[in-house]
Symmetry: C2
Subunit: 255 residues, 2 copies
Amino acid sequence: MKNLLLAAALALLAAGCATTPDNTVFQMSTIDALLVGVYDGHLSGRDLLRQGNFGIGTFEALDGEMVVLDGRIYQVKADGSVVEVNHDASTPFASVCFFNPDIRFDLTPASDFAAIEEQVNRIAPNQNLFCAVRISGKFKSMHTRSVPRQQKPYPPLKQVTARQPEFFMEDIEGDVVGFRCPEFVKGVNVPGFHLHFISRDRTQGGHILGFELAEGRGEVDLLSRFHLQLPQDAESFAAADLSRDRSEELHAVEK
Amino acid sequence: MKNLLLAAALALLAAGCATTPDNTVFQMSTIDALLVGVYDGHLSGRDLLRQGNFGIGTFEALDGEMVVLDGRIYQVKADGSVVEVNHDASTPFASVCFFNPDIRFDLTPASDFAAIEEQVNRIAPNQNLFCAVRISGKFKSMHTRSVPRQQKPYPPLKQVTARQPEFFMEDIEGDVVGFRCPEFVKGVNVPGFHLHFISRDRTQGGHILGFELAEGRGEVDLLSRFHLQLPQDAESFAAADLSRDRSEELHAVEK
């Protein structure tokens, strides 16, 4: 019995210390590294799930949009198909948390992206904190994009999104997953809202460009800790010029 | 024996998970919050030492410059005196790590601040990572400043440093302690080098404005993880306008 307890305690020690505490956004790499084409995978799906069960990102070689929901990782590919990924898949850029909502609220019907932003900002007014956002509902329309797998030498993200496949869905149920980040993350993550979508049946989704909500519920999780992990040994990351203001590039690729 | 092992494992579990892993810069609050006058203490010295044994910062009410070295916290007051602080003292802004140098090197004699920066950058060329820097040696000259304790309503940092007390030391032994941060931390920490000084006898120090090294050794610890903790419940932090570019203000206060 004591041996069992000891083993359990040691296992907890090993597992517990590898995971991120509650109230934390964990992030792999920086958005500006992604903008300049650092698409090598730096972290496996397995390791990502140790840091959170909820979030967004992309895949090695920029192979589609990532949605992490309820501890599963979904890949929205450039052809519009969705697969649940093998945990060996790796990511160059992702943000996750253990989603534990502080506030749940009904959303105003017929809200678009801007109206939802306003509602979340009213409910979670401290914009100097991070905020994980989940919206579950029926959408009259949902407009998303994905990105196609790239070959080396990797082009900058702006070149890829200039020819991005876009998807238009109507009368679709599903979940909006993402974060509101403080303005001061500029260069590191996306200031403001960055949201991805996955349909209830997990067959459609992508990086959200716009939507109209029919009816739904919102959940927000205020997060005051931010854990950034940089790809220490990646030559592409070391060589990236991350000293410039890339706000305009970011604005271009988020559209 | 097994009970002892079990107790030890559980203690490690409790302690281990509260501390920051190696290879990590832990930071309380943001430099821009400090610039606008968020000087309330958000973290005790005790809790800060759980996150690192090496680093720099300031104290509640901007009461002097902080040096954390070998697990002790020193306060360089505005009158130039230095005390080792009680762990109940709290900080509005500090950055620490568990210092575990990757590279040790001899420094070129007669180096000034700029020459030391060059040497560190040659030895640790990946400027997209964080880097803790310690320089132990004899200094022909050392020029520092501190800041005086403020009263509410707190003025912005620029107003305080406009009348900062400065200290000029000659032929003094001691330690330079600080960080080189990537450019992309702008708004969150100080891009480039941010170094404090404490004399070998722990009686003099401050935020470094300039120096000339007579002879010394450098140590650098490359750090690829950055853990930012924001003061979730502090009204002053919530109310701070952290959306503006404050590079010029920062430049003014770092001089």
